[in-house]
């Protein structure tokens, strides 16, 4: 049953005509999909064949996930901003601002300028915010950000954007194609801050990426992650699920004419571990957390996880 629905979800091609027919398909699909979500984690963890990982609700060979995720982001790179606005009703801007004000990056009196690594930061959304924060709040014009992404298309988008900012000369921001699980061009113990916003759920091997984060951070360096998470209020969760499975793919169809990518994005949110599990994964990678280790945003639609390398 489960695999049949997953196959159905994945193989369905975008069809524009017959809006009503489309909606009917949506409804039946979303119903099965929500049911599937309930046991998705336990089922796939047990039954997933060796050497495969999840791509949305589908199981794919680990070697293929990178390419598949790459295709999704290559196809949405241009409309990435609109996509985020659609998926979060525009609230992602507030979350990102809060994220940056929380980590409060910048040189302080008697301190050093920071080296920041922004992973999966393709379009530079978080990087520009952090540089702005450092300049405006701490009057720090030396802190540097290295933006890495596995996807050259996304990085290209970021580079293009940087040209219209005051960081156009590239002295404070640089872009580099890197696999977050390896980060082979980033030396050990070299970074003050590692940020990853709405990226980590697309990684093939999250524990490996956390290990790499631990490796490149200086002792005392901070790992900060902003990611979609699990809503902790059941009535709101119900509404949110309906919105995710019905509205978002349809909007993807209408706005970007790319239903499958959006379908993947919401499925990947469903498959990402909940707040507690992810906090434990961060601790397992060698980080220390304080309190619960996370902060919920908008009732848990997104969460900020922070760990420190001690």
């Amino acid at each position: 049953m489960a695999s049949k629905i997953a196959r159905l979800a994945g193989s369905r091609k975008s069809r524009l005509p017959a809006v009503f027919q489309q909606q009917r398909v949506n409804r039946s699909l979303s119903y099965s999909a929500t049911r599937l979500v309930e046991n998705a984690d336990s089922e796939s963890a047990i039954k997933r064949p060796q050497g495969t990982t999840h791509f949305g609700f589908k199981d794919v060979p680990e070697s293929e996930k990178e390419t598949l995720v790459g295709e999704v982001f290559s196809s949405v790179a241009k409309s990435y901003d609109i996509m985020n606005d659609v998926m979060s009703l525009g609230i992602h801007r507030l979350w990102k601002d809060h994220f940056v004000s929380k980590i409060d990056p910048g040189r302080r009196p008697g301190g050093e300028p920071l080296s920041i690594l922004d992973v999966a930061g393709g379009t530079g959304d978080i990087a520009f915010r952090m540089l702005d924060w450092a300049s405006e709040v701490h009057n720090d014009h030396q802190t540097k950000v290295l933006v890495t992404d596995i996807n050259a298309d996304m990085l290209g988008e970021g580079k293009k954007r940087s040209l219209s900012t005051k960081y156009a000369d590239g002295s404070r921001i640089s872009f580099l194609v890197q696999n977050a699980e390896v980060l082979d061009s980033v030396p050990d113990d070299s970074q003050d801050l590692y940020t990853v916003a709405f990226g980590i759920r697309n990684f093939t091997n999250i524990p490996a990426a956390l290990k790499s984060a631990h490796r490149v951070l200086k002792p005392g360096g901070v790992f900060a992650c902003l990611e979609f998470s699990k809503v902790n209020f059941s009535l709101f969760d119900m509404i949110y699920q309906q919105y995710s499975f019905n509205v978002i793919p349809m909007m993807g169809q209408l706005i970007a004419a790319d239903r499958d990518s959006y379908q993947y994005l919401i499925e990947s949110i469903q498959r990402f571990p909940d707040q507690e599990t992810f906090a434990q994964m961060i601790r397992d990678a060698g980080f220390e957390t304080s309190g619960s280790g996370y902060e919920n945003l908008t009732m848990g639609i997104a969460a900020i996880h922070i760990g420190v390398k001690v």
Binding site: D104, R108, S292
Partner: protein, 244 residues
């Protein structure tokens, strides 16, 4: 398992078991501290900077720096300076239990013991008393107020418990509520007190505690009066009606 080593999952399950909040209270096994050794070191260093910098993020950053960490490290504390304040409150509340032997010897009645615990607790704010209003302001922020009120309730519970309060009726609540009120007003008074050794504060505390005692008598007398008058009026009415 067969090789005599525990699987990773088993170890995690075991550690989660010890870290999870207990469903029972044990006098002999106190709950583990919510803070790691690193956090305790950072917070203690940060508190040393509070007299100069106040209850602001800078103190926390300087605390991280003193302990050999980076300026960015402060970001690990999700509530910023409120985490530092909560650490101080937690630390000083749990410290009271260590004074039990001395106070049990020196004071007699539960009331005197409670007064003494209040004084000991208030004295812990002395090093940064000029900065304490900043802490109170942070504690009063909408996002923090529920944790602050909970901490205050736990403090007055701790004080009454250590003082040997054995009440098991509604008095249990009134004692804790009134002590919370007394403690918080005295704490506020102390921030404005310039008298030597805070003598005015201790006098203020005594007056507040006496007021509470008076209030209790007043409340008791009032309720007796209301009950008596009520019954009397009712009987009067009944007798009037019966007579026709």
């Amino acid at each position: 398992m067969s090789s005599g080593r525990f699987s990773k999952a088993a170890i995690r399950a075991a550690t989660q078991l010890t870290n999870s909040p207990r469903l029972y209270h044990s006098l002999t096994h106190l709950p583990p501290s919510p803070y790691t050794a690193t956090q305790i070191r950072i917070f203690n260093s940060a508190l040393n900077h509070v007299p100069d910098h106040g209850f602001v993020k800078d103190s926390l950053v300087l605390g991280c720096r003193d302990q050999g960490y980076l300026d960015s490290t402060h970001a690990v504390f999700h509530n910023g300076v409120f985490d530092l304040i909560q650490y101080h409150l937690y630390n000083e509340r749990t410290r009271l239990a260590s004074l039990k032997e001395v106070i049990d010897l020196e004071e007699n009645s539960p009331h005197d013991k409670a007064r003494r615990y209040c004084i000991e607790r208030l004295k812990a704010n002395q090093p940064f008393i000029e900065r304490w209003p900043e802490a109170l302001a942070v504690m009063g922020l909408p996002s923090n107020i529920s944790s602050s009120v909970k901490e205050l309730a736990e403090l007055s519970d701790e004080i009454w418990y250590l003082s040997g309060d054995k009440s098991s009726d509604f008095d249990w609540y009134t004692r804790r509520a009134s002590l919370s009120a007394v403690y918080s007003t005295t704490e506020l008074y102390m921030t404005q007190d310039n008298s030597p050794d805070f003598n005015n504060t201790w006098q203020f505390l005594d007056r507040q505690l006496a007021n509470v005692a008076n209030l209790k008598t007043t409340l008791g007398s009032t309720s007796t009066w209301v009950a008596f008058t009520g019954m009397a009026s009712l009987n009067l009415l009944k007798s009037q009606l019966a007579r026709g």
